[in-house]
Symmetry: C2
Subunit: 257 residues, 2 copies
Amino acid sequence: LGKILAVANQKGGVGKTTTTVNLAASLAILEQRVLVVDFDPQGNATSGLGIEKTALAASNYDVLCGQATMADTILASNFHKLYVLPATIDLAAAEVEMADEVKRHHLLAAVLNQYQGEPFDYTLIDCPPALGLLTLNALAAADQVLIPLQTEFYALEGLSQLISTIRRIRKHINPQLGVGGIVLTMADRRNKLSRQVEEEARNYFGKQVFQQIVPRNVRLSEAPSFGKPVLYHDVKSTGAQAYLEIARELLQRHERL
Amino acid sequence: LGKILAVANQKGGVGKTTTTVNLAASLAILEQRVLVVDFDPQGNATSGLGIEKTALAASNYDVLCGQATMADTILASNFHKLYVLPATIDLAAAEVEMADEVKRHHLLAAVLNQYQGEPFDYTLIDCPPALGLLTLNALAAADQVLIPLQTEFYALEGLSQLISTIRRIRKHINPQLGVGGIVLTMADRRNKLSRQVEEEARNYFGKQVFQQIVPRNVRLSEAPSFGKPVLYHDVKSTGAQAYLEIARELLQRHERL
Ligand SMILES: Nc1ncnc2c1ncn2[C@@H]1O[C@H](COP(=O)(O)OP(=O)(O)OP(=O)(O)O)[C@@H](O)[C@H]1O
Ligand SMILES: Nc1ncnc2c1ncn2[C@@H]1O[C@H](COP(=O)(O)OP(=O)(O)OP(=O)(O)O)[C@@H](O)[C@H]1O
Ligand SMILES: [Mg+2]
Ligand SMILES: [Mg+2]
């Protein structure tokens, strides 16, 4: 499954799904074979990639329960080299059902390890806005975590909670878990608060913060209503260009560019 | 505790905390005695009202565990007639500990019913971005649910899931639960997608949608960094005026104005 990246932040609405969908599409256009695992019962990444949830034969819930294999459930999206393991609301039941399992933190990792199909260069896991079992499973299965950080006061407040959770996971569940980077989202350098948050993040996290910021751009919020990554909705937009640049930075960090 | 309103939506970042804090402050300025119950472990409503979480003697977690009474834990904020039952990260542990209790959905309702202190006209409960035990407890304890709806594609997608959860709660847990209203947040009538979402919401929910929309307004995102509702940060701003108007509409719906 190549490098596995969990896109996580328990603060809601910071751009986890937007980053997962658009970074995945950008990596794919740069000739990486990419799988998006939608691990949020809201299923936003699934619909943001144009997949009709009601028409699905199986979803990741069926794979977790052993009713379907990953190879059978993965769908090719309409976009170059981009594949999806879709989510439906059923996934919400998995979080309750996992609670009693001994290996409840490693259920996703076990499923991903069994994959026998054509290899991927990258797997991106979109997480729900919580530090519950679904997000913990994603962090347990990942090589690195990508942290979308909205440049606003409440989002910054939650960051220390996320960092301590990542440390805890590294200590008890997944010693390999690294921080792949911090993506500044909905940033607006004309706004004083946004500049302050960016400055604080760069002071504290240094080079882990991607050079490229993602500005607030209406094309990014329009694209999902057409079921497309922004690259395929308006490639010249600042949103599309920002995620292409972040994809290039990521490939350089992984020495693949 | 007067009328109890749960401010809920499992979609992240739609303005739950911003609506709780600013609607509460607006109702208080209109001479209602208001309690904010922060039921999100992120504790954004607590810090948005200027309460320093690290200096707290007790929080709502202690009240749920029976280690402290509500009357002892409620704090007066710096703002007229506005009180807070604060949250810390400890509340995240409560969600795990509640799971085995027989009356796990009614733990908050039991605590609120025991309150013997000075009466409130309104109690607003800020919920986390999930439909887990914390939100279910808030819906079980509430007279009505207020739904902040961000006028964006992903937010609209999640609405049907929220509505079916409310119906389920009404059937099995809290037959009194009504819908107090839908607040359109971060709305921008110049943006086609935003107008479409507003139109769909008004067509589907009719009069339940507040007439007054909350426009995107930078003062709303700045105010929490000063620990103040926007009313006390910049009363002339469109954000402050919008929440004042929503408070008036709410009082009219409850025949208190
Ligand atoms: N840079 C941006 N510019 C404008 N709109 C954006 C941007 N990034 C995200 N959005 C919009 O903001 C909203 C929140 O983003 P998104 O849903 O990706 O966040 P999330 O962290 O995945 O939310 P949740 O916590 O619910 O999973 C969405 O409607 C999205 O379209
Ligand atoms: N009308 C608005 N105009 C501008 N910014 C806003 C507006 N409403 C909310 N915000 C900002 O958007 C972000 C998300 O809002 P908020 O935190 O209130 O949402 P939430 O639903 O409580 O999020 P969570 O799901 O994490 O609890 C915050 O940084 C907030 O300051
Ligand atoms: Mg999301
Ligand atoms: Mg909130």
